[in-house]
């Protein structure tokens, strides 16, 4: 029995892995190709404007910049397959190490933003659906329309102005690592994470509200009420789970968007995250770093998709794939 089940898991997982590999290959090629088309020379970024022709030629040789594009791509790709993402032209650091160092910041921001957005959106979505067209529902519809219409950088500046300058207590810029103490770390992460989260809350809460309203019309909700179960239990235990499909899908998609959104927020709040790394690397044409980050994002996208698929099964036993 266990052998058969193992085979089934393999049958389910292998195509998924093959698809992921194909996506990564394409994304890596695309990123390298686009950067190759872009004007500029990394040697200038390294040596400065006053570099002599010999110095530049020497750098080109050292970095294999004169090789044909496909040769460079092949060298890079064969390194990736062995787990070697190369070294930065600019700093000489291994790409993996600099991505990992920056990931700590961006990863924390993204996770905090997601958790915060869900923690706010789920109760709002459930309660506005429970009293649809009530006063709170209409008020929230107004507020969320306003939030959707506000660009993130405006929101960021507004939050920084109010919470950091007027109210005080939160730093407007800069970063403190977790190692410097959780308090300092969270205080520095609060404003950028809130900026990211506030952009998600309106869509999250309204998507959940719409699905909840449909679920609350269903017979099994009426049946639960007819058994005298408490309203809160019916809302959060009986109605929320079958209503959360769209929200889960949206959350999966927004992980990728959040990392991209982090670029703006990290620049605004001067945070040493992936976003800043990408901006400086693209400007300097530091190809290995850009490719490393792009590959990492592609992996995150694919993983988020896979996790979403698994979550569907957890939410609803009817969509679970079973051995046949």
């Amino acid at each position: 029995m266990s052998g058969r089940r193992g085979g089934t898991v393999l049958r389910l997982v292998l195509p998924q892995l093959a698809r992921t590999a194909a996506v990564l290959l394409l994304v890596g090629f695309g990123a390298a190709f686009l950067l190759d088309l872009a004007p500029g020379d990394p040697a200038f970024a390294l040596l400065g404007e006053q570099a002599t022709a010999e110095q530049i030629a020497a750098t080109h040789r050292a970095l294999h910049l004169d090789d044909p594009f496909l040769t460079r791509y092949w060298t890079w790709m064969s390194g990736v397959v062995r787990g070697d993402f190369g070294t930065s032209y600019l700093t000489g650091e291994p790409v993996m190490a600099s991505v990992a160092a920056r990931l700590e910041v961006t990863g924390e921001l993204v996770l905090l933003a997601l958790a915060g957005a869900l923690a706010v959106s789920v109760p709002i979505g459930v309660l506005t659906a429970h009293r649809a067209d009530g006063r709170a529902d209409r008020a929230w519809s107004l507020v969320s329309s306003g939030l959707i219409a506000t660009p993130p950088f405006v929101l960021a500046l507004f939050l920084a102005y109010v919470l950091a300058l007027k109210v005080g207590g939160l730093p407007a810029t800069g970063w403190a690592a977790w190692a410097d103490g959780p308090g300092a770390n969270l205080r520095h992460a609060a404003l950028p994470a809130a900026t990211l989260a506030l952009a998600l809350v309106p869509t999250y809460s309204r998507m959940l509200r719409a699905d909840m309203i449909a679920t609350l019309q269903e017979d099994h909700i009426l049946a639960a009420r007819s058994r005298g179960l408490p309203v809160r239990r019916i809302l959060f235990r009986h109605a929320l789970r079958p209503s959360s499909f769209s929200l889960v899908t949206l959350t999966g998609i927004s992980i990728g968007q959040l990392i991209s959104g982090a670029v703006v927020v990290e620049v605004l709040f001067a945070l040493p995250g992936l976003g800043q790394l990408v901006v400086t690397s693209v400007t300097a044409k530091d190809v290995p770093v850009v490719q490393g980050v792009v590959m990492f994002l592609a992996v995150v996208y694919c993983a988020a998709g896979a996790v979403t698929d698994v979550l569907y099964g957890c939410l609803d036993p009817r969509v679970r794939v079973r051995p046949t």
């Binding site: 269903e218 017979d219 099994h220 009426l222 049946a223 639960a224 009420r225 007819s226 058994r227 005298g228 179960l229 408490p230 309203v231 239990r233 235990r237 009986h238 789970r241 079958p242 939410l315 609803d316 036993p317 009817r318």
Partner: protein
């Protein structure tokens, strides 16, 4: 319009006091065309151990009557009248009082077991939840009792089945689970809203038998709502026939079927297929479309479809009355045969229903 359709004079001596007393209950829903009188001045009582049938076409207000009685009419609905149960009026009770009554006092079985169960929770957990929150059992006791209940409603291998999701069960099994959920906290009144409509004919009988057994064992009163006269024949003591939200005929089931007086009841009886008819006989139908009462109405609501309608039927509202009294002079008593018609039919014609009821039994 000034008086109620039926005056309850209290139970005749010798009969137990009613568990549930529904009096002059109306449910009005706002629609684009005007207020819809989904339930219109309905009165009846239900005693312990008694089974009362409610029959009518789709849209006659049967399900809305059940929801109203449970105090679960849609938020937009306006309800009047009273539903007395255990010292409460369920129509005006606070949400808290109502919750105390629902499940443990009055419970309900729904039409479609495919949608009446939470699709994402194992059935054992659904039962245990109700037992824990409403029956006051602890986690472990609730789990054991859930299995026991599944056995009571005839689920084979209940301990294993408790771990099934609703979609893994057949329709009949699901309805058994729904019934187990409804009776989990020992209600004294069970409202069964078309409990067999979504099921195979072969399973219908088993479910009706199960409901009858549970009623006999616990002495609960049961309201059996159906569009199928054959379902209530022989399984209920009394009958309410509903049309466009109103009770048009009521009385002991055998008498209503044997000697139907309302032209609508007679038409329903005539539309039941009969065994002795040759195959491919065209089935008798009730001519015209079922009516719904929107806005202010005048006269008998069945008049547009009624072959016996006269001018008076379109002018005046008929009230429920003893059919033997001329022109509705004597208000009918709850337990006696009463009909709301100025020109009742002579009675008789229930043979088809008796045949069909025999087959279902």
């Amino acid at each position: 319009m000034t008086t109620g359709r039926m005056t309850i004079l209290g139970p005749p001596s010798g009969l137990p006091a009613p568990l549930l007393a529904v009096q002059d209950v109306s449910t009005t829903l706002p629609t684009a065309a005007g207020p819809l009188h989904a339930v219109d001045r309905v009165s009846f009582t239900l005693a312990a151990g008694e089974a009362v049938g409610v029959v009518g076409e789709s849209g006659s207000g049967k399900s809305m009557l059940a929801r109203t009685v449970m105090g679960l009419a849609p938020p937009a609905a306006r309800t009047t009248g009273s539903v007395r149960f255990a010292g409460h009026d369920l129509l005006t009770a606070s949400a808290r009082d109502l919750r105390e009554v629902l499940g443990s006092g009055v419970a309900m079985v729904f039409q479609d077991p495919a949608t009446a169960l939470n699709p994402v929770t194992r059935i054992g957990r659904q039962l245990a939840e109700t037992l824990r929150l409403r029956g006051g059992l602890d986690r472990r006791a609730a789990r054991d009792r859930a299995v026991e209940l599944l056995r009571t409603v005839g689920i084979p291998d209940p301990a294993r089945r408790a771990r099934s999701y609703p979609h893994e069960l057949s329709g009949g099994m699901r309805q058994r689970v729904c019934i187990a959920l409804a009776v989990a906290c020992g209600p004294r009144v069970l409202l069964a809203d078309e409990p067999t409509t979504a099921l195979d004919v072969t399973v219908q009988r088993q479910i009706l038998d199960l409901l009858a057994d549970l009623r006999a064992a616990s002495g609960m009163g049961m309201l059996l709502i159906t569009h199928d006269l054959a379902v209530v024949a022989g399984r209920t003591e009394r009958l309410l026939v509903m049309y466009a939200g109103q009770v048009v005929e009521t009385g002991p089931t055998t008498e209503v079927i044997r000697a139907a007086r309302h032209p609508y009841t007679a038409a329903l009886l005539a539309s039941v297929p009969r065994l002795e008819q040759p195959s491919h006989t065209r089935l008798a139908t009730v001519a015209g479309l079922p009516a719904t009462a929107v806005g202010a109405t005048r006269g008998c609501r069945f008049a547009p479809r009624c072959p016996r309608a006269r001018a008076r039927c379109r002018q005046e509202d008929p009230v429920l009355a003893d059919p033997r009294a001329r022109h509705g002079a004597v208000p009918g008593r709850d337990r006696e045969h009463a009909v709301a018609c100025f020109h009742p039919v002579g009675g008789g014609g229930g043979a088809a229903v008796r045949d069909t009821a025999e087959r279902i039994r």
